[in-house]
Amino acid sequence: MENKKKKNKYSVKQRLLSSNLTFTIVSVIIGLIIGAIVLLIAGFNPITAYSIIINGIFSRTKYISYMIIYATPLIITGLSVTFAFRTGLFNIGAEGQYIVGALVATIVGYFLELPIGLHAIVVFLAAIIAAAVWGGIAGFLKAKFGVHEVIATIMLNWIALYFSNYMVMKPFLRRPESDSSYEILDTASITILEDWKYTDAGREWLSQHPYIKDFLATPANLGFVIAILLAVLVWYILNKTTLGYELRAVGYNKHAAEYGGIKVKKSIITSMMIAGGLAGSAGALQVMGVTKGISVLPGMEGYGFDGIAVALIGGTTAFGNIFAGLLFGGLKYGGPKIQPPLGAPSEVVNIVIGTIVFFIAVPKFMRMIFNINTRKRGEKNAR
């Protein structure tokens, strides 16, 4: 027992020192430095700007609440990308799967009448199933026709977007005189204490607890808790189940997996379905907790694409996604706050994120910088 513990500790330490995490941290630092340089060139004080962002995220519980709300869908789409990535697939399609999830959640949340709680669960599951099918299409196309999943999912994203727009504008779903759908029923909501917040008792209690009041002054919802549960689930499936074993084996080496009796094509479809379901759940949670419905989208909202960045920054590990999602969510929420006082463009956030991803893409460059003579092995991405 004693011995085992020691060994585990050793392996954790080893992982901390492993090149991936180091590269990620260095990439984040480089991203922030480039952001600072850009701000400096544009004539702003980067220290002031960054401190405004940090204050804008942490100085009030309301801000923290918002950061969490911003982070929640990104963590989950990140998990979707991570799951696919760990099984050898690149899911660029989280965006479309998210849209499908949000659409189905809205429809089921609006039309179906069920008791509180149960309704939310049904909405959540319906969205996941729909999005899993959507993701599964890409898996099927790859398994059956050899269509590269990157291209297939890009196409499916746009099809999902326009399909969702089409559905929103249908009379049965469209809230008259608007570009939005009807809102879901309250029974499907997962916003925390949504009604109670505005009752007399609620108001009174909250006025005595200012921090909680502040925290709940947002559409704070159960999404974040579910995101963490999903992260645990993803970790568990990947690492503790025979399914995860099969999917990872196919991702790492499909020839050996085949030799071990694992069905490669089935695994590819399963993997894309799970990834799709995850991204769809992000869409459902956003509808149930924050937006309550969907609108016509002029373009991509970016939850899926941001999820790719989150997954990459999170080192494509389940728990890394939580941290990367919070980082990204914080930057997305806090970033725009530099605009009013400084007049500094909030898009510096995109530049920071883009830079981080760029440097994560070039581990070889990092290795050159560090001059680390690690084992000669191509950290080939899974594809």
């Binding site: 060994k7 995860g244 020839h255 050996a256 092995r377």
Partner: protein, 511 residues
């Protein structure tokens, strides 16, 4: 008949040594080739022939030794230098752009232009002229993807000639050709030497050497064994020089009576990736308590046979019975569940998931069975305990089940596979080239494991390209040639000469 000009030594390789880490691929090899000569490099797989030629072509840099081209000491550090010096190489795996035409492939990098455009007319005319001069008939307008392998090889030769090659290295040029194409190639080689070209041909097929080569240099285990005049040497002599008289690995094993038939293969036909019958009506029986060795030169259908037995390749016709049960075209899972274990040919591609831990690799076929998993949930505790036991028992180093398989040495990787397969308690153990790339100690270990299985009364099917190995380890030896068994002999009656001849398709005439 001979076109050799003995006054001109075009290639002299002196004392060439090439080491990869601790492994010496070439050990002070000397090679002299005259103008107009066809010089064969003969040796078993892994003897160091291709390494030597890669040194000559500038793909590898020799650890020590000098190269003289036309008497001039030359430092060939890049294929471009080799090309400038008039050396051309036709690799075993062709370097051709599939959707391009023949002419486009030939002129690539040395395009003929007219103004800003490529002068395709001139290119085609040049190609035609070259091909007529040497009898290398090709259609300059045909796309590579549409022409046969033999044609593709001609394109490779033309590519070299177009660049003014005087010395042509052909690496196993007949490995991928049909008998008719081989005959054509022999004609082409004669034409080339008549025009004063020099040919170095890497091969281990004796017949071809007798047919075409003037001189033959034999390499064994990286060492220069002999250079002989082919016309004065018999196939028998070449064979024995190739495989060596002295037996390097003596394996202790007691005689054992063979038992019931375990695996029965009847008239098996399996196609390769190109759709050609690689296994072509093969029949074989393997008995309990014996090691049946399958000897043969690479590319005679061994890989396809193993894939078919593994359920990874479709059987076109014929039958496979395991313990009397029809296993033809069953799924891999069913096959693995019918007491067959396979040590795959390519351990890194098929045998291991390199990014999995050693423990995870130990259960690659059984991860879903108790005690490793229950209702879809893995028990890492049991998997790791199991792995730990095996690591101890099979002496895998380092003794850590949690590290990735990638970080193990080749020998230890193979131990992981053997441990896994043997522990499955199979009735039939198929070992495909189980010692490839291993060092002496590891080889001994693998051999011991196989014999242990036999002594337990299991059937063992050893497929190997190493003749020594087959002779020493197996009880009976079947020789495969062009997808058929051309003969079966008892190992104790076997001698390298006979086997070498059979493997090279010599002496037996196919039947």
């Amino acid at each position: 008949m001979s076109n050799i000009d003995f006054n001109h030594k075009v290639v002299e390789m002196k004392d060439i040594t090439k080491k990869f880490g601790n492994f010496t691929a070439n050990d002070h090899i000397n090679l002299t080739v005259h103008k107009g000569e066809v010089h064969a490099l003969l040796g078993e797989n892994g003897a160091g022939k291709t390494t030597l030629m890669n040194v000559l072509y500038g793909l590898y840099h020799p650890t020590s030794g000098d190269i003289y081209i036309r008497g001039e000491k030359t430092n060939i550090n890049d294929p471009n230098v080799a090309i400038k010096k008039g050396i051309g190489m036709v690799h075993q795996h062709f370097m051709l752009v599939e959707p391009f035409t023949v002419a486009e492939n030939i002129i690539l990098g040395m395009e003929t232009t007219k103004g800003v455009t490529i002068d395709m007319q001139k290119a085609i005319a040049d190609v035609k002229e070259l091909s007529e001069k040497y009898g290398l008939y090709v259609d300059p307008d045909a796309k590579i993807q549409d022409i046969s392998v033999g044609m593709q090889q001609r394109v490779e030769i033309l590519k070299a000639l177009y660049r003014g090659a005087e010395i042509l290295i052909l690496d196993e040029p007949t490995a991928v050709l049909t008998p008719q194409e081989i005959e054509d190639l022999m004609g082409i080689i004669s034409n080339l030497t008549e025009e004063g070209k020099t040919i170095i041909i890497i091969t281990h097929k004796l017949k071809e050497i007798k047919m075409i080569a003037d001189y033959c240099t034999i390499i064994r285990r990286g060492k220069h064994i002999d250079t002989v005049k082919v016309s004065e040497t018999s196939e028998d002599d070449l064979a024995s020089k190739m495989v060596g008289r002295e037996v390097s690995f003596k394996v202790d094993k007691e005689h054992k009576e063979k038992g019931e038939t375990t695996l029965k293969i009847e008239n098996l036909v399996v196609k390769d990736n190109r759709g050609i019958n690689a296994v072509d009506g093969l029949s074989l029986e393997i008995h309990a308590g014996e090691i049946l060795g399958l000897a043969g030169v690479d590319g005679n259908g061994q890989s396809e046979l193993i894939d078919a037995l593994n359920g990874l390749r479709q059987v076109e016709s014929g039958k496979v019975y395991m313990n009397g049960k029809d296993m033809t075209n069953k799924s891999t899972k069913e096959i693995l569940n019918s007491k067959i274990s396979i040590i795959p040919e390519d351990r890194q591609r098929r045998g291991l998931v390199l990014d999995f831990t050693v423990a995870e690799n130990m259960v690659l076929e059984n991860y879903h069975k108790k005690p490793f998993a229950k209702r879809g949930i893995l028990s890492y505790e049991n998997i790791e305990k199991f792995a730990k036991d095996l690591i101890k028992k099979f002496d895998v180093r380092p003794e850590n089940e949690k590290i990735k398989a990638r970080s193990l040495s080749g020998g230890n990787q193979q131990k992981v596979i053997i441990a896994r397969e043997v522990t499955n308690d199979p009735d039939l153990l198929i070992a495909a080239q189980p010692t490839r790339g291993l060092d002496v100690g590891a080889i001994e270990y693998v051999h011991k494991s196989l014999i242990e299985q036999r002594d337990k009364g299991k059937a063992v099917f050893l497929v190997s390209l190493e003749l020594d190995e087959v002779i020493n380890v197996a009880d009976r030896i079947a020789v495969i040639y062009e997808g058929k068994i051309v003969g079966i002999i008892n190992a104790k009656d076997a001698d390298e000469k006979t086997l070498g001849l059979m493997m090279a398709g010599g002496g037996t005439d196919g039947k």
